[in-house]
């Protein structure tokens, strides 16, 4: 239960974590936000992230992994620079979400949870992302694209490939 002497996080994030663990009646309540912020900064939850978070909260690395493995939005492997998350839940499925998924697979040449060789894109099939009224929907990093057709999807991917995509994490 301490602030480690050396940290793998940026000074800003480290400072944020120092504060975060003091905000709740028990320190471990900070675990899920810490995992999310770490993922945003590091790209995924590495072993080093697990270790440091455990030390910061004062729980075991096993405790961290128990929570980490529960949430499918937390990942333990690096993804591409742009993580394409295609929804195939009910509404999107009815509006051919699977078609979009297949299209992405074909265009990017990768399958579910895979990364393109250049590391630019990764693909993921996800559950409802809360954009049902504009199904089918896709989320790339933190940005939404909806009412998609294969053609629109091509355009989105092309923009990203050409460096015109939105640069949110």
């Amino acid at each position: 239960m301490s602030t480690p002497a050396t940290t793998i996080f940026s000074p800003a994030l480290a400072a944020r974590f120092d504060k975060l663990v003091t905000l709740y009646p028990v320190r471990r309540s900070a675990l899920v936000p810490m995992l999310l912020y770490s993922q945003d900064e590091v790209g995924y939850i590495s072993d080093a992230v697990v270790e440091e978070i455990a030390v910061r909260i004062g729980i075991t690395p096993l405790d961290v992994r128990n929570v980490l493995s529960y949430y499918s939005m937390l990942r333990t492997k690096p993804v591409g620079k742009y993580n394409v998350q295609v929804c195939t839940n009910i509404s999107c499925m009815l509006k051919d979400g699977y078609g979009i998924l297949d299209h992405c697979k074909q265009r990017l040449g990768i399958g579910h949870k895979e990364v393109t060789p250049d590391g630019l894109f990764s693909l993921e099939e996800v559950e409802c992302i809360g954009a049902c009224c504009w199904a089918p929907a896709v989320q790339i990093n933190y940005d939404f694209y909806d009412d998609l057709t294969p053609e629109k999807m091509d355009k989105v991917l092309e923009d990203y490939r050409a460096g015109r995509g939105k640069e949110t994490l």
Binding site: R28, I59, T60, L62, R65, N66, S69, Y70
Partner: protein
């Protein structure tokens, strides 16, 4: 809390408010099924097997989380409830491998029992079962994932109970899985609690796995042979070609002071009994210097003749005797009686790991001041001075942790090291290694010699406010320091003490007089009182202690040395050549460093292969029962008697057997064998067991109870398997202030156990596979 009245299945029950419904029902004999509920652990409410109907509540409720309330009306069995339980079983079995015919738990599996009771004849699931290979997590722990029903008992007992937190749950829903802290292996204390508590066969042990079917074993309740805590254990034994072997140890019935706890040693380290290099034939050194196997008759004859010759020519003072810390009280008593009355010597000692003599001296005449191991489970406050109980007294550490967790007991720890129990401590004080005496002075208000700080002042302050306290102290305390500690403690309102020594019967060895200056019950030789009459030829001068005996041997003054279940050559770093002019008789299981230089070796039985009583370090007396058997070995008891016989002594004088009791010799046997057993218990309780053989330890126990007042406990309860506290206050001694305590702590860890540990492959493989690193801090 006040009692409330409620109705279960039409029966009116009362229980204190706040009691869980499941407990209240069980107490009244109404069994409510449960997988995840486990008394003493936190509530999980994961399995829904315990559902019951509460009047005026719309849905079925879990009895394991519902506290009883005034006027509550409960139904525990109905068609609706049956249907619900049956549905849960169907879900559980949906992905269960159903490999009961080979599963370790088959026959004693809670999932089997429930399926048998509620039936699950049909499964609507057609999905393919998720198969996973069995994993080995450590030499001790194996995990068969598909059998797991996710009750989380293992996770909780490891975390809350053991404070190790080595098990967790990963993933979610149907893919949830129990996982070890090392990702693919365990870094833990290897206690096996998780295996023991698993209701199914998902966690299995390296020693027992796929070895037997549960119903092929016989079960014998006895006492662990390792550390000084004296855990009660039930050994599962099975016949083999050369006797009967132990394949399992547990305390599932929670009888005894340790509840269901056993550490790795009690649970798994019995494999030394079946080692192939165990000595099973008497050995005698031949003129060519080699040891050769001979018949029992020859070996006993030879040893007896030599002992007699040396006694008669050089006198008893030329003979030394070293006893054991793992033999029964009866054997220890008999050994010193043999030494003193047949060998005519007081040269007798054992490996001392605590200064019990000074402890007895400090407490004499003070009734009710010794703490039983049980007291640590209930005392409102505990002071632990020195000792690392997690390593050296695992059951004590378990009881302390349970008490802190369940009763919010206040634990005070003072130690020179940052021991693991610090995590349960309300107050922790780190002191210099040689600072224990000064600490006691400081606690008593004498500041000189102690660097007081704010922390130590608060520690002392809080301690002095305690109205009821038990104090356990390690071998850091000896002689006068024990006296000062007791003096300090007696100044507080209500204090009990425990001296922590290391081996299964270290306390018994001291109590039974395996010492050169003290007779059984710490009666000093100088004032031998009734022993004068009992032991007619008792030499009056104190004998040589352990170290003096080896000095005498070196100087050529020790003609013979008789070593029973001890390895002093290794333990005290004795140069074996010091013994070249000494006729050495050794009773042991293995070719230890001491046995290797012996002239005669008798293969001996261990504590699991004999009956008698043992006393744990807290003075709790317990019955040890013979569980295993090994062809070729004999008990130390029998060997001592036979040796005496060969020396021409009258065994009847040594062991008071067959003395005029007219026993019922079988009239009550026959159709009513239960009647006969009850009769035997009655006979035993009234000191009327037949005792027709010179090898009956209870004949000697009679004598112990007659001559050692502190051991005069209820036999009825003792033989019924209960632990009985001996009464230190009945001891009366004046110790010579110049007396040497000669305490040499064993410094065993969780994975070592003196000589026995060296011969346990299980303990070795654990030590080789990894070193334990407990979690940094307790999770909140």
């Amino acid at each position: 809390m006040a009692d409330v009245t409620f109705t279960v299945d039409g029966k009116k029950l009362t229980a204190p408010a706040g009691t869980l419904l499941i407990d209240a029902c069980r107490k009244a004999g109404i069994e409510i099924p449960a997988f995840c509920y486990y008394p003493g652990l936190s509530l999980q409410a994961a399995c829904r097997m315990c559902v019951v109907r509460l009047e005026k509540v719309p849905k079925l409720q879990t009895a394991c989380t519902t506290p009883v309330a005034e006027g509550m009306v409960v139904t525990t069995e109905s068609d609706e409830i049956k249907q619900s339980r049956k549905a849960i079983l169907e879900l559980l079995l949906g992905n269960h491998p159903l490999d009961c015919p080979v599963c370790d738990a088959g026959g004693e599996c809670e999932l089997q029992d429930m399926t048998f009771k509620y039936g699950a004849a049909e499964s609507k699931y057609v999905e393919i079962k998720q198969h996973r290979e069995e994993q080995q997590w450590s030499p001790v722990v194996f995990f068969d994932r598909p059998r797991c029903i996710l009750c989380y008992r293992c996770v909780r007992v490891c975390g809350e109970g053991m404070d190790v937190w080595a098990l967790g749950v990963q993933n979610r829903g149907v893919s949830s899985v129990i996982s070890p802290n090392g990702e693919d292996h365990l870094d833990c204390e290897e206690c096996g609690m998780c295996i023991d508590i698993c209701p199914v066969g998902a966690l299995t042990s390296g020693t027992y796995r796929y070895k037997t079917r549960p119903w092929e074993m016989n079960h014998v309740a006895t006492v662990c042979t390792h550390c000084g805590d004296g855990c009660k254990t039930t050994l599962g034994v099975r016949s083999v070609d050369d006797g009967s072997e132990i394949i399992r140890g547990d305390n599932r019935d929670k009888s005894g002071m340790n509840g269901d706890f056993l550490c790795i040693k009690g649970r798994y380290a019995f494999d030394f009994t079946t080692r192939e290099d165990r000595i099973t034939k008497p050995l005698v050194r031949q003129p060519n210097g080699q040891l050769a196997e001979v018949s029992w008759e020859q070996a006993l004859e030879h040893a007896g003749m030599k002992l007699r010759e040396i006694r008669d020519t050089r006198g008893g003072s030329a003979i030394g005797v070293i006893g054991s810390t793992r033999t029964t009280n009866e054997e220890a008593y008999l050994l010193q009686k043999f030494a003193r009355t047949v060998l005519n010597t007081n040269n007798i000692d054992h490996h001392r790991t605590a200064d019990y003599a000074s402890f007895a001296a400090a407490l004499q005449g003070k009734a009710g001041r010794t703490a039983s191991l049980r007291d640590f489970l209930t005392a409102p406050a505990i002071l632990l001075l020195g000792n690392d109980a997690t390593e050296q007294h695992p059951a004590l550490a378990w009881n302390i942790r349970s008490n802190v967790r369940q009763n919010r007991a206040r634990l005070y720890v003072a130690n020179h090291a940052d021991i693991k129990l610090h995590r349960q401590a309300k107050s922790f004080l780190q002191i210099p290694q040689d600072g224990y005496a000064a600490l006691v002075q400081y606690l008593a208000g004498n500041e000189a010699g102690f660097d007081g700080t704010e922390i130590s002042a608060a520690f002392r302050e809080a301690l002095r406010k305690e109205e009821s306290l038990v104090i356990a102290f390690g071998s850091e305390f000896r002689g006068r320091d024990i006296q000062s500690l007791v003096d300090f403690g007696l100044g507080l309102p209500n204090v009990k003490f425990a001296a922590l020594g290391d081996y299964a019967n270290s306390r018994g060895a001291a109590d039974m007089g395996l010492m050169p200056d003290l007779l059984p019950g710490y009666v000093p030789l100088a004032a031998a009182k009734h022993f004068g009459e009992e032991y007619p030829s008792l030499p009056s001068a104190p004998g040589l202690d352990m170290l003096q005996m080896f000095d005498a041997a070196e100087a050529g003054n020790l003609g013979a040395l008789y070593v029973v279940g001890s390895n002093p050559v290794e333990r005290y770093g004795i140069d074996p050549t010091a013994l070249k002019n000494t006729f050495l008789i050794v009773q042991d299981m293995f070719m230890t460093e001491t046995a290797a230089v012996a002239d005669v070796i008798f293969p001996a039985a261990n504590l699991y292969e004999k009956s008698g009583t043992v006393t744990n370090t807290y003075g709790d007396l317990q019955l040890a029962k013979k569980a295993a058997d090994k062809a070729g070995v004999r008990t130390d008891f029998e060997l001592i008697v036979r040796l005496a016989d060969k020396m021409g002594a009258d065994p009847k004088k040594l062991v008071p057997f067959g003395r005029g009791v007219r026993a019922d010799m079988g009239q009550t046997r026959g159709a009513q064998s239960g009647e006969a057993d009850r009769h035997a218990v009655w006979l035993a309780a009234n000191n009327l067991e037949p005792k027709l053989s010179p090898f009956d330890p209870f004949a000697v126990f009679d004598e112990i109870q007659r001559l050692v007042p502190s051991y005069n406990v209820s036999r009825f309860e003792l033989l019924g398997g209960q632990d009985k506290q001996t009464r230190s206050d009945l001891v009366q001694i004046e110790l010579d202030p110049a007396r040497r305590d000669l305490v040499l702590p064993a410094n065993d860890t969780l994975f070592t156990s003196g000589t026995l540990g060296r011969y346990s492959r299980m303990l070795h493989s654990v030590m080789e596979s990894r070193t334990t690193k407990p979690a940094e801090t307790a999770a909140d």
